[in-house]
Structure formats: C-alpha cells, structure tokens
Amino acid sequence: MRTLPATARAYLLCVGFTAVLCAAPALRSGRAAPWGTVVALAALYALCERLARRPPMGRTGAGAFFPVLLAAAFLLPPPLAGLVAVPGALASPVERSPARVRRLWHAARLSIAVHAASHVFALGAHRTVTAPDFPYVLLPAAAAALAFSVVSALLDGGILVTAERSSPRTAWRAPLLGSLAPHLVHGLAGLMMAVLWHSTYGPVAALLVLLPMYISCWVLAQYHRERAAHQATIRALVQAVDIKDRYTRGHSERVGRASVLIARELGMDGDRLEALRFAGILHDVGKLGVPTRLLRKNGPLTPQERRVIELHPEYGHEMVRGIGFLDEARAAILHHHERLDGSGYPYGLSGHHIPLFARVVAVADAFDAMTSTRSYRRGRPVAAAVEELRRCAGTQFDPLMVGALARALDRHGWHPAVTADAAGAAGAAGAVGDVPDDLSGNVPSGALPGVLPGVLPGALRAVSPASQGVGTRAPEDSPRRPFPGPRGGTR
C-alpha cells in the first residue's frame, strides 16, 4: 500500500466504498431472498477460479468462468448478485504484491460489475427465463453482458490511470474493445446457465454449460504455449547462425526490430508486421549453408569465396521454404541483397521489382551493420549511419524506406541493447542461460577467443573434432570487413 500514490489510494477507497454500498441492501432482504442460490453460485465461482488458475491454464484461465457471474446477474437481484463474486475473488491466487489489496480490489471491481449487469438485465426481463421469453430475452442479456464488460473495463482502467499514470486512452480504449466479444459469449453461456438453473433439471444441468468454456480456455492456454515455443524455435534457427558467424551476434534480432520500426512507419500492422519481423530476424539464416571456415576467415576474401558467401540468400530461401506462414518474408530473405539500381544479388532485380519486404529488410540490415560494434571496429553513431543511408538512397536503397526509418528513429530512438521482444518469446527464449556449465569443460580452450562473452553460452562456441582452434585474430588490423559504404555491411 505504501508504494501506491495518494490518488490511487483515494480511488481504491472510493471503489471499495461503492461496492459496500451496492451490497448493503442485501442485509435487509431477509429470509425470503434466494440465499441458497447465492451460496451455491458463490461456491461454484470460487471453485472454478481455483481450477482456472492452476498451472496448465496459467494467466489465460482468468475470466474463463465469468458465465457463472453473469448467470448470477440474470438469476439474482443486484445486491445479492454482487455478493456472488466476492468469495472467488478473495480466494483467487494473486501473483504480485500487495496481495491483500489486490484481492480486495478484484472483489470490489467484480462485485460492482455484476451488480450493474443485474440492474441492466432487470430493466428488460424478469428473473425466471422460460420458452416464451425467447428470443426477446437475448436483448437484455446482451445488454447486461455489455454493462458487465464496460463497468469492469472502466474500473480497471481507473486503477491504471491513477496508480501507473498511463494515459486514459491506452488504459480504457483497448481493454474495452478487446473484452466486448468474449463477454458477449460469456453472456450467452450465462443465460444458458440461468435458464437451466431454474428448470426441472436443476443446477446439475447448468454445470454442464461450463465444460465447453473450460475446454476452450484450456486449448487457448495450450495455443499460447505452443506459440511461444514456436517463436523460440525461430530464434533457435537464428542462434544456429550465430554459432557459425560470431561477428554478427544479436544482429538478426536487431534487424527484425529495425524492420518493424520501418513497417510501423509505413502503416503496416497485424500479420504483415509480424511476418516482417520474422523476415528481419531470419534474413541471414542462409549463412548456415556457408562453410564455417569461410565465415570466419581472417584476411581478404578471394572472388571465388565471395561468390560462395553471396549464395546465402538462396540457401536461406531454400531453408524456410517449408514454413507456410512466412510467405512474403521468404521473398525478403531471398532478395535482401538486391540494390535499387540492379547491381545487387542474387538476381540483380531493380527498382520496384524488388519485393517490398526485401527493400525494408535491406535498409534495416545496413543500418544495424553500420551502427553495431564488431570486434574489429566500433559502430558508427546513429546519425552518421542515417546520413550514409540517405546518401545511398535511390541507388542502393529505397528512399521511402530510408525516410521511414529516419522518422521512426526520430520518434522512438534506437536502443540496440534491448532485444526486440525477449518478453514475447516467453520463457523459452530465456532458456539461453539454462545450458549446464559443465558443458563448457568439453570445449577446447583454443576455440574460445574471448570475444563478446555472455551472449551465447560457452557450450555453443565452436569446437572442431580435431580440436583445432580457429586461432585468435588480431582485431585491429583485420581487413576482413573494411566497411565499403553500406553495401556489404553484411555480406
């Protein structure tokens, strides 16, 4: 409680007081009130809440059992309906402290929302729904679900505004719009429960309504888990490149980020934005096909060797061919080294024959190659890099993309230390640190030139079956990548 600002505390007290006021008439309702239904529904909700928050469901389980609350709103007068949410909210596990305050807050918020829903429902229908009421009862039911959704989103947004000082727009708009559809579905399920609860078949039949809801939440939880695992796998593809080419470590992730910056500026969103992020992340995946010796070669490359390295876009395209969802991103992987004037590779496409995604990734790639520090040279400042990009816009890069990147950088800045969405990749990507330490004992020390420590676990650094180290390099005089303008930033 001490960490909360004064406005937030006042807000919490207000909400709590309102909740108590709402529930107060329940005391006067006496013995005639349907207390049995109140107790049964409250116990049911508390039980369901515990069930939904168990490990396989995690946080996605939250709200799976709102149909119980909405059924209460349909079955009971407002003060009693509000009470149904209280035990469940008080007993639910809370992840962050202060736990007691959070529990009380949840109880107050849900109780007020159910109270409001019950009021709204009473405006258009009576409490026992039977056949003749259909389909007209759907209208008050939908209105009640709407009221529940709006009130709980408003109260939730209020705490964000007062305690975390979010802007009212972000605190209210997105949650409100996002919760409408699920709450309408919950409203229908709640109506089913209410209908069956009062029928001759009794509450047992009403319980069955919850099973499909529970199953879909369970499937949804699995969906989120597999999605996270999938993103981790994509990153593992990238890390496989990092194993081979230590100089570009973290590069892929940053190119993905820069591509997203450009794409947002161009007004892309949703699936295309996501595809472009993957295009940026995976653009160099074909380097897996280039012999490790070549990627790590000291000294200048012969034309023959350069040609081998220039095959990597085609290798990359071949590798991700089987991944259906990448779609447009595959074109970006194949063409990210094309130049606007047609002198790039592999196909020498020019102008607008180069796919849009490839033009975006080319700019992002060059930008990161210039600004990142490699062991043989320091990175350039962002402003100098943008200047260089502008200089080459029209011949090498699409001016549209360069302009978009410059605007995005002005607006958001560039924070290369923060990896794109380490949080989005969930725990799976965080497993980088999970490699057992004893593995590094297996690696011959000659193979571990101490560059860029800590990005990948030691176990993943190169080992050769014959225990030949790669040899330490002299970073300063290495002519390997004298930066010849933005082109060849990454080869």
Partner: protein, 437 residues
C-alpha cells in the same frame, strides 16, 4: 492439402491406406449401410414427425459439417466437426421441445443425421477433399447407438417413471453419452488399426485420451442442447451452440500453430543438411522411420511427437563443428566425441522451446542403450541404420543388400550400443516394406 500432410511435410513409411484388416472395415461399412437403408426406408414409410424440429437439428448438423476442419482420418486427430457431432447427439437424446413430448424414433434420428451430414459434406465431396466415408460411418454408428438406447425408452414412457424429469434425468443423459463416446473411441481405433496396421492398444489409448479434451465438450454440449430445447424451445439451438463454437475456434487456432510449429522444426532439421553436415533427407528419414519403430513398440502419441522432434534435430549439435564429419555419420567417431556432439545438440535444442524431453533424448542419443530412455534408443538405432545404409550404398552395395548388411551390423552391436528389442522392431518395420530410402 489436408492438415495432417501440412503438419508433417514428409512421407510416413506406411502408405496411409494400406489395408491391414479389411474385414473390420467391411463389417463396419456393412453395418452402417444397413442402418442407413433401414432408417431411410422406415422414415419414408411412416413420414417425418415434428418436421420443424427435424429441420432445425438438420440445419445445425449441416452447418457444423460445413465448418469442419481437417480430414480427421488419422488417430490423434480430434473430432473435425464438433458442432455437428454435438447436434447429432442432442437430436438422438431429444425428448421434449418446449415442454411438449416429441415422438420421433431412432430411425428418424438416423435418417435426419445422414441427410444433414451428406448435405454439409457435399461441398467437400465436390471439391474432392478428404475421405468422408469413415467419418460418416462412425457418425451413423455412434448416433445409432445413442438413439437406440434413448428413443425407445423415452417413447414408451419408461424414462418418465425413472429417472423422471429431475436432475437425475440430466445425469442419465450424460452417462448415456459417456458410453457413446467410449463406443466411438473403440470404433475410431478399430478403423485406424485397419487403415494403418498400427497396434490396437496404443491407438485406443490415444483415442481415450482425446476424449478428455474436445470429446467431453461435445458430450456436455449435446446434453445441454437436448435439455435446453426441452426447456426453452428451438430458439435455444443457436444460442447454446456459441460456447462450442468458441471451443472449435480455439481448436482451430491451436491446430494451425501446431502445424506451423512442425514446419519450423522440420526447417531447423534441414539446417544441418543445407550446411553440408549431413546427407540430404537424413533427418526426415530418421524421423519417419523412428516414428514407425516407435509405433511398433507401442509408444503413445505424445511420446511419438517427442521422438519425432528429437529425431529431426538429433544432428543439430554438428553445427558447432568447424569441419563437417565425413558424410555426417557420427557412428564411426569415438564414443566420447559422439557424446560431446550430442550434448552440444541438446544445448541447442533446449533453446528451441520444444518439450524438455526432446532435449534429453538428443543429449543421450550416444549413450549405451542401457542408460537411455526408450525414445533415445530408437533415435540411436535408426540413426545408425540410416548412416550405415548410406555408407554401403556409397560403397556400391545397392538393392536389398545394404539394408540387410546394416541390420546385421546393428545386431552385432546389441551387446552395448543398440537395444535388441529396438533393432528387432526396426527389422519388422523394414520387413513390412517400411524402408524409406
């Protein structure tokens, strides 16, 4: 492209429809055909009672069938059309509408379900997508079971005496549907066994496990619809399908992400090939043959998935080698070297977000078999087999001699490296024509 082939972008060693026990299929098809004929004839003769109810349920089934996903012909695939299944079961268990008793019998239920399923499947049939006959046969047999158990009891009034129209009635319906679901699982496993020749026990186990998921949601919705129509009339139908639609939607999203995930894993497995560390197609062959051997040894579907992912990625540790091992075959290397590569591979796999077990299998693939879990034994044996066959083919031993010599070599090393049971299972799979080279 069916969901199954999208999820697994390479051939399994068994042709999916190599008939194994054709008489099972024949018996089931005959039974379903007889049921269909009898129900159609009976309904035509007596006419349709309560046509509006029949029309409403028929419409629901047809819509659910239109919205179905995937072929549903493979074990472990969940019910492709949950809405249609729930609607059909609800019609089979329908006693009252709007508090008025109905009088449609089991024959009419079957006729309506048959017509509606065919109507809903017509677009798919016209487009030539996916086998629908197995699905239809199963639907008819299970709905026939439920309707035959329920309708005569209801229409003769036996149900009104016991359990009456109270809470026990709901429980009775639930029990009936649980029995029906069991029958369905047995049928599915039998059909899958007949189609693929995989052992019956594990198939049935996988089907029963599948019942806990979407199967229970379908049963619950079937009971709820039957009861709700009794209480609130036919208006309940559209309203009460919404939660199941939600389930179907989540299932579809889950299926999509699973398919993409499998594709990405397969791409990751191709890394080593494109990088020139392993021969082309090696990982895919080991995965496919390993899956077949795993089935032969009775592994369950989740274990098979672990096995498959581990087999696909078993060579990934080689990426950390500066110079490729000749032909990518790790078997000739000294054991300590093999184990080191395996450990490195496990470290990479751990970062991919696949289940922990997969990394464990990859890590322990080079251990002596007595220290390994069964999945790792399979990966080791099948990997060695594929390496050996490849080597013999290079030496000029084509035709059947390569595989035979490779098996011989494996048998000689069953003292320490390869588990005898796995080698024998591999031999049986190969003898059935499961050689994927």
């Amino acid at each position: 492209m069916s969901r199954e082939s999208a999820a697994r972008p390479y051939a399994t060693p068994h042709a999916p429809y190599a008939p194994h026990a054709p008489y099972v299929v024949a018996v089931l098809y005959c039974a379903a055909g007889a049921l269909a004929a009898v129900s159609l004839a009976g309904t035509l003769r007596s006419g349709i009672t309560d046509p509006h109810v029949a029309l409403a349920f028929g419409g629901l089934i047809a819509v659910g069938e239109l919205a179905r996903q995937g072929a549903g012909a493979h074990p472990g695939d969940r019910e492709p059309a949950p809405l249609a299944a729930a609607g059909a079961l609800a019609y089979a268990l329908l006693g009252e509408t709007d508090r008025h008793p109905t009088s449609h019998g089991a024959l009419q239920v079957l006729a309506v379900v048959l017509a509606a399923t065919l109507a809903g499947a017509a677009p798919r049939l016209a487009a030539g997508r996916g086998p629908v006959l197995d699905h239809l046969v199963r639907r008819l047999l299970t709905v026939g079971f439920a309707a035959t158990c329920f309708q005569p009891l209801y229409n003769t009034g036996a149900l009104a005496r016991w359990p009456g129209h109270g809470p026990y009635y709901a429980l009775f319906l639930l029990l009936l549907l649980a029995l029906t679901a069991l029958c369905d699982a047995v049928l599915r496993a039998a059909l899958a066994r007949a189609r693929t020749g995989w052992p019956y026990g594990p198939l049935l186990r996988d089907e029963l496990r599948g019942l806990l998921g979407v199967g229970s949601a379908i049963c619950a919705t079937g009971v709820v619809i039957a009861l709700a129509v009794a209480v609130a009339g036919l208006w309940a139908l559209p309203v009460f399908c919404v939660p199941l639609l939600l389930t179907q939607f989540s299932l579809r999203r889950h299926g999509a992400v699973r398919a993409t995930y499998a594709q990405t894993i397969a791409s990751l497995a191709r890394c080593t090939e494109i990088a020139g560390y392993t021969p082309a197609g090696h990982a895919r062959r080991v995965a496919a043959l390993g899956r077949a051997v795993g089935r032969e040894l009775g592994l369950s579907e989740p274990e098979l998935t672990v096995l498959e992912y581990a087999a696909l990625m078993h060579d990934i540790g080689q990426l950390s080698l500066v110079d490729p091992v000749p032909a990518g075959a790790t078997e000739p290397l000294p054991p300590s070297e093999q184990r080191r590569i395996a450990l490195l591979g496990g470290a990479v796999v751990r970062q991919t977000g696949v289940p922990e077990e997969v990394a464990a299998v990859v890590e322990r693939q080079a251990d002596p078999y007595r220290d390994q879990p069964l999945t790792a034994r399979i990966v080791r044996t099948v990997n060695a087999y594929d390496d050996l066959v490849g080597r013999f083919a290079e030496d000029g031993a084509h035709g059947p001699y390569g595989p035979l010599r490779a098996l011989e070599r494996l048998r000689l090393a069953t003292g320490r490296d390869y588990a005898p049971a796995v080698v024998e299972a591999l031999a049986r799979v190969l003898a059935r024509g499961g050689d994927v080279r």
